[in-house]
């Protein structure tokens, strides 16, 4: 109800006028946006793109296009190259050429790995508490002795590397 009040305040005439202008200004046809039209691409698996590369030809290029309509043997090599460049942006060789981007990427990756390493060092030094007592020298040696006593992994694992007759690690 309030909305209708606003309508009467603004005045119906002004709203309808502006709307009419938009609709009837171009005789009801909307201009086609660029992205809706066929476009040119440089892609290896699209050998003949939908449109030529150069859309608006200069006077010189237009003259060349006229000459193209006649016999092609009359064209010089430079003219042929110019016609190619009108139609296409990059040659296949140029398209397939590699860049040096991988160096940047590798450098960035290694840099951020380094930053992470620094963060971890800082954390170990300033943040974390003591490690559990089960990592102490005595505990680990008692642990290993128990593992050997119960013949853990005797075929390929730890007990396979211990010489039980000489009571030492195998050489």
């Amino acid at each position: 109800m309030l909305a209708s009040r606003v309508f009467s305040l603004v005045g119906r005439r002004s709203i309808s006028t502006s709307l009419c202008l938009r609709a009837h200004g171009h005789a009801g046809v909307v201009k086609a946006e660029d992205y809706t039209l066929p476009s040119y691409v440089d892609q290896r698996d699209v050998p003949l793109p939908e449109v030529a590369f150069v859309r608006d030809l200069s006077a010189q290029q237009k003259a060349l296009k006229e000459k193209e309509k006649a016999s092609w043997s009359a064209l010089s090599v430079d003219e042929k190259v110019e016609l190619y460049r009108i139609k296409f942006n990059e040659t296949y060789a140029e398209m397939k050429k590699g860049t040096n981007e991988w160096k940047t990427i590798l450098g960035g990756v290694l840099f951020f790995l380094g930053v992470t390493g620094l963060i971890l060092i800082w954390q170990k030094h300033f943040m974390y508490g003591a490690i559990p007592h089960t990592f102490s020298e005595e505990w680990v040696s008692a642990q290993t002795k128990r593992m050997l006593d119960m013949r853990m992994n005797p075929v390929e694992g730890i007990s396979a590397h211990w010489d039980f007759d000489k009571n030492e690690w195998k050489k």
């Binding site: 128990r146 006593d149 075929v155 390929e156 396979a160 039980f164």
Partner: protein, 67 residues
Amino acid sequence: MRRLLARRMKFHLLGAFLVSMGCATLYKFGVAEPRKRAYAQFYRNYDPMKDFQAMKAAGVLECAPPK
């Protein structure tokens, strides 16, 4: 650009075959065969009773104390 897909496909099919066969061969002769030999070697002269007595003496068996 002639036979672009065929050339690429031939290259990659051959490569995939070689890589997979290579991985399988490497695994067989790097992991599987040594493991089989290790097990054969272990069980060649294995005496389970002697092993049991050794474990018992060491005191790791809860139901069979060294006494």
